[in-house]
């Protein structure tokens, strides 16, 4: 575990993300790793099956760039703003070229959980009397061996690669997150390969000082990429705010395929790395997203010898 897994985003994506893979870049509003999404676009991966509860702007961009064959999701929108126009362009009417596999939020969370637990299915109290099991035949009724009312089951979801963003990890990949946890832990344990992208690389001692804060052991992590601001325009609790202005701007940028392509040329293909992207954004914009401190306080684990 003490051997370093630290690498660059370019090398991590080149080695661990392959054409045709099922990929989950998870993080619910919080810690969405746009840096990884942009690198996948730059390396022109193709035929990916993209999984996320909320495809968000990161998948709108990746789908517009042509990396995806299929989308597995539960809520398809720009939160508080409106539609994901690039996704709509390939899913509506005759233009429907993107394959969709649709669940509810809990259904997706339960799928990752079944994947992490190597369970053949996960039962939940959703979908009763709705059209969702008809739209997606993988949502199936199941009877309890103890009688009572019927519930529904969803199948496990085990991505080839899960990519998550975190506040910190050590070189072995032991990873800690605070704030919204989403379902990153489940999506990572369920995956064959895991890339962890962090705001800060810390010493193993920092992790071991607060083991209850750890969401992933290095055991399940293949690569650690140090990419501060790698979640922008999403956010990292305590590090920077969500760039809501960009989420609002995206509506206009993405309404037209041409303007979206121009944006990709300028902000993704036009930069070689995340640091170039950040330089382009400018210090003023980043500085304005910095929160004031709100410390958690420290607890005592006690030394027992």
């Amino acid at each position: 575990m003490s051997s370093s897994k630290v690498t660059s985003m370019r090398d991590a994506v080149a080695e661990l993300v392959r054409d045709g893979d099922t990929v989950a870049i998870e993080g619910f509003t919080h810690l969405i790793c746009f840096a990884a999404g942009h690198e996948i676009i730059r390396q022109r991966r193709r035929d990916l099956t993209l999984c996320r509860l909320t495809p968000d702007l990161v998948y709108d961009q990746m789908i517009a760039a042509g990396v995806a064959r299929k989308l597995v999701f539960s809520w398809l929108g720009n939160p508080g703003v409106g539609s994901l126009h690039a996704v709509r362009r390939v899913t509506e009417g005759d233009r429907a070229t993107l394959e969709l596999e649709e669940y509810s939020h809990f259904g997706m969370v339960a799928r990752y959980t079944a994947g992490a637990m190597k369970l053949p299915f996960f039962p939940l109290r959703s979908y009763a009397e709705t059209d969702l099991p008809t739209a997606n035949p993988l949502i199936r009724p199941i009877q309890s061996p103890y009688g009572g009312d019927q519930v529904y089951a969803v199948p496990p979801l085990a991505p080839d690669v899960t990519i998550i963003h975190a506040q910190r990890a050590d070189a072995a990949g032991n990873t800690q997150v605070w704030g919204l946890l989403g379902c990153q832990k489940e999506a990572a344990f369920a995956a064959d390969r895991v890339i962890v992208v962090v705001e800060e690389l810390v010493d193993e001692a920092v992790i071991r000082a607060d083991p209850n804060r750890t969401i992933l052991p290095g055991l399940v992590v293949d690569a650690v990429v140090v990419e501060p601001w790698g979640a922008h325009p999403s956010y990292a609790q305590g590090h920077y705010d969500r760039d809501n202005a960009f989420y609002l701007d995206w509506d206009a940028i993405s309404r037209d395929a041409g303007s979206l392509d121009a944006w990709l040329d300028e902000w993704v293909h036009g930069v070689a790395s995340r640091s170039e992207y950040l330089a382009k954004l400018g210090d003023d914009r980043l500085r304005a997203l910095r929160p004031t401190p709100a410390p958690s306080g420290s607890v005592d684990y006690g030394e027992y010898r």
């Binding site: 619910f28 509003t29 919080h30 509860l53 909320t54 999701f73 539960s74 809520w75 398809l76 929108g77 939160p79 508080g80 703003v81 539609s83 996704v87 709509r88 899913t91 509506e92 009417g93 005759d94 429907a96 649709e102 669940y103 509810s104 939020h105 809990f106 969370v109 339960a110 959980t113 939940l124 109290r125 959703s126 979908y127 009763a128 009397e129 709705t130 059209d131 969702l132 739209a135 605070w178 704030g179 919204l180 946890l181 989403g182 379902c183 832990k185 489940e186 956010y235 609790q237 705010d241 969500r242 809501n244 989420y247 609002l248 929160p291 709100a294």
Partner: protein, 241 residues
Amino acid sequence: MSEPRSAFSASEMMIVAAARELADQRVCFVGVGLPNIAVNLARRTVAPQLELVYEAGVFGARPARLPLSIGDPTIVTGATAVTSMFELFGYYLQGGLINVGFLGAAQIDRHGNINTTVIGDYASPRTRLPGSGGACEIAQNAKSVFVIMRQSPRSFVEEIDFRTSVGDRISVVVTDKGIYHMDDGEMRLDSLHPGVSLADLRASMAWTPRVGDVSMETPPPTDEELRLIREELDPQGVYTG
């Protein structure tokens, strides 16, 4: 008739009326969009004790600003508890701890069944909507469900194009025209907003509504309610514009 309209917008009236319905409620699951502003207004007015639950994994949020998204960092800092989404949906919602689930909708029928998935055919839809998100499980597992939406002949329909969430647990529907409560499985109009006639309302839906006692119109927004919306909750008019 036109005097109140000059003082506030139909969206403001809808948000205020929805917030007031939360008086005395204890635990509310906050959906994205209009429910988000209505619930945050309620916590500042009629329901200071209201515990806000966000599907992102937050219980007892104390947002210092109105979040654009329902996964904003301001719902985390100072919250009572932050959990994985597995625990939020499993232990809190499916576990039966949510009094009110607050949803928006694209289409609704007279029985309160909701469509937020597609307009047109599922396979090749005219309009691809966001889908369920947590809505179908909120509708099935919250003790009661409130709906807030703008009504029109295209949103208040005889037949919804896709059943995303069932109406069984819906208790109230608040629109830009009036307030409906469920009466034996069907929506009943119980209040018209100021400046809205029954004719206006009927013209804004595809079925003929059951009508209760509408002799008293919805009390208009107070100055304080309008100040909170305009100065604190939505200064940029994202929700009310």
